[in-house]
Amino acid sequence: MSDTQLHSLKRHGVVAGKSLLLAFAMFGFGYLMVPIYDIICEVTGLNGKTGRVSVAEANAVQATDRLVTVEFVASVNAGGSWIFRPQVQEMQVRPGELNHATYYAENLSNNTVVGQATPSVTPQSASIYFNKTECFCFTRQVFEPKGSKDMPLTFIIDPDLPINVDRVTLSYTFFKSPDQAT
């Protein structure tokens, strides 16, 4: 192989190497979009993702006089055989005050199943002001065959909730958890 051939091979190697590096970096970027997406959703409340606070933090907040209606909605993801519903349809709450609600779920199948609820808040602009100290959605819920239970939820609405919001809908979808190993 002559010198010029070797030289041009080297130059091709440099360009190909850099391009390949770009390709691998972009493959990594595809995966990096997962945490980036989660952070953006958390910061902006996109997709109605709700916040989580500790009880101590919740108690430190000053309650206000304003009244906000909170509606509870429940739905079951396709393929799950459950009864799933809120115990009360709606309640009036004061932002800054800790509130309790309960959802009822019943396993209609003859097997032990694990359920997982995922929350969503509308309007989206309210979701970052909707915080929970305790929620059945934080953990997987195990059900005996034909078993049922009441599942608690404790939440607080941030007093900074925009003044034009007087009605917040909290919706839960109940899934059969992908992780059925109990």
């Binding site: 041009s8 130059r11 091709h12 360009v15 190909a16 391009s19 390949l20 770009l22 390709a23 691998f24 972009m26 493959f27 990594g28 970027f29 595809g30 995966y31 979009m33 997962v34 997406y37 959703c41 902006t44 996109l46 997709n47 993801n77 997982q116 995922t118 989206q124 979808t173 899934f175 059969k176 958890s177 992908p178 992780d179």
Partner: protein, 539 residues
């Protein structure tokens, strides 16, 4: 192909270097070849065969939609036809055909002896037939082909049977092939130009392909990542897109369209390059605004990365996001408009003649612009909520892809086939091919605007009776357009077999290095770097 015969008959070479100057005999030539012209030919034949497979699928779709009700195929198969038609046409026809043209023409346009990495080149072609065999074989498996749309949205696509693994595997292969092909093109353009061929003297086709290659290298891996996540969600218990496990199906759409929108420009930028080569030849004027063409192409490529969520206006974005993606999308019409006006200005007061390549190129400019304008309508967020997932969208992207990208491929074939075969194609038949195709393609796609605006959803095998008349007309157009492409194959075969002998220049006054070599192009060209003068560059 005929150039091989002539290369063999070439007198005046010593025995010992004969193997440098002609292709290996027999079928193994095509398997082991590292010659850019051979590989270009393989890519082009592959694309042509896939064009008829994808076209047959389109005809099944149109047959079913010819009248309301379910008559020929069951809905599941219908859905896998819409999905496969898209995958085949995008990854099996338009992309390989452009890569084939790049292989054939880029070394000849810049005056290089071959592609920079010839063995890689062989490999990137030969992956494709295997990838598509795997992809198409899913149609014959128990769980059927992919039927959730080519966009592969979860959770629907995750409900597919086990043949899903084959789909993902095939997509990975296609991606590897495209990335390798692109790396090769980038290395060729950067390293193989002879002295004097500066970047701003390169033909527009070379420029558009350089930018396309970067788009491919930057976005195909993102797509590979997205489908890998689907694969692990489906088979290995991860929850990237499963809300039950803390994931989010909407996130898939963001990742997919981050790839998917630049992909749209991957499918059209080389077409811009082809049209920018053809129009100056037949207008007998240099390309108007060469520099602005280069900058416009680069701007389109940049903007394509920041507009992806306009495919997702109905997923419930914040108002600020909708506004951002609406305006950034509309901004793309500025560089695209620069291009369209430059083509028109090139034709302005030119001594125009209308040979078949020019007819297809002018048809491209007009009909691509129709598709571009319906794209602007779709960019308007509040209007898009009405148009989303209707036949209006189908009409839009078929206008930019069929009389857009596909027409540019036909124009390129007619334009360069005398150089490839050494024979002129049958001009009369070529003109017939253009006019029949153009009439039927409009009969096929224009009515889709009307049924779309009236609310007919896409990807559904049945529809309300009120849409029946326009759908029947579209089906007539589909069969007319589909069968008229057999004429295209006939013209190509006839041209390979014989015809009026082509001169080196082929087209009167054509500029560019590819017209300085003999027709058919010898097996090896520009083994000695050509002199770059004002008459051998295109601008």
């Amino acid at each position: 192909m005929s150039y091989s015969d002539k290369a063999h008959a070439h007198p005046g070479h010593d025995e010992h270097d004969d193997h440098h100057h002609g292709p290996a005999p027999g079928l193994m030539r095509w398997v082991t070849t590292t010659n850019h012209k051979d590989i270009g030919t393989l890519y082009l034949w592959f694309a042509l065969i896939m064009f008829f497979i994808g076209g047959a699928m389109a005809l099944i779709i149109r047959l079913e939609l010819g009248s309301p009700g379910l008559q020929f195929v069951d809905p599941m198969f219908f859905n896998s036809m819409t999905t496969m038609h898209a995958i085949v046409m995008i990854f099996g026809v338009i992309m390989p055909a452009f890569v084939g043209l790049a292989n054939w023409m880029i070394p000849m346009m810049i005056g290089a002896p071959d592609m920079a990495l010839p063995r890689l080149n062989n490999w990137s072609f030969w992956i494709m037939p295997f990838a598509f065999t795997i992809m198409l074989s899913t149609l014959f498996m128990d769980s059927g082909g992919p039927a959730g749309g080519w966009t592969l949205y979860p959770p629907l696509v995750l409900q597919m049977g086990d043949s899903f693994a084959f789909v993902i595997f095939a997509i990975h292969f296609m991606g590897i092939s495209s990335v390798m092909g692109s790396i090769n093109i980038v290395a060729t353009i950067f390293n193989m130009r002879p002295p004097g061929m500066t970047m701003m003297k390169m033909p527009m086709f070379v420029w558009t392909w350089l930018i396309t290659a970067y788009l491919l290298i930057a976005t195909i891996p993102v797509f590979a990542g997205a489908v890998t996540m689907l694969l692990t969600d489906r088979f290995f218990g991860t929850s990237f897109f499963s809300a039950a496990g803390g994931g989010d199906p909407v996130m898939f759409q963001h990742i997919f369209w981050f790839f998917g929108h630049p992909e749209v420009y991957i499918l059209i930028l080389p077409a811009f390059g082809i049209v920018s080569s053809i129009i100056p030849t037949f207008a007998r004027k240099p390309l108007f605004g060469y520099d602005s063409m280069v900058y416009a192409t680069a701007s389109i490529a940049f903007l394509s990365f920041i507009v992806w969520a306009h495919h997702m206006f109905t997923t419930g974005m914040p108002l600020a996001g909708e506004l951002f993606f609406m305006f950034s999308t509309m901004m793309i019409s500025v560089p695209t408009g620069v291009k369209v006006f430059n083509w028109v200005a090139t034709m302005w007061r030119g001594s125009m003649t209308f040979e078949t390549p020019m007819l297809f190129a002018v048809g491209f400019v007009i009909m691509f612009t129709i598709g571009g304008l319906s794209g602007l309508m779709l960019a308007i967020t509040p209007a898009d909520i009405q148009y989303h997932d209707t036949y209006f969208v189908v009409a839009h992207f078929h206008y930019v892809l069929v009389p857009g990208a596909i027409y540019s491929l036909m124009a390129a074939t007619y334009y360069w086939i005398p150089k490839w075969t050494g024979n002129m194609y049958d001009e009369t038949l070529g003109k017939w091919h253009f006019w029949i195709s153009t009439i039927f393609v409009n009969v096929l796609f224009f009515p889709m605007h009307f049924v779309g605006l009236a609310g007919m959803p896409r990807r559904i095998p049945d529809y309300n009776n009120i849409f029946a008349d326009w759908n029947f007309i579209a089906t007539i157009g589909a069969f007319g357009f589909g069968f008229s492409q057999l004429l295209f194959v006939y013209i190509i075969l006839k041209c390979i077999k014989g015809g009026k002998e082509a001169t080196s220049e082929v087209w009167e006054g054509a500029r560019g290095l590819e017209w300085t070599v003999a027709s058919p192009a010898p097996y090896h060209t520009f083994e000695v770097a050509p002199a770059i003068t004002d008459t051998t560059i295109t601008r």
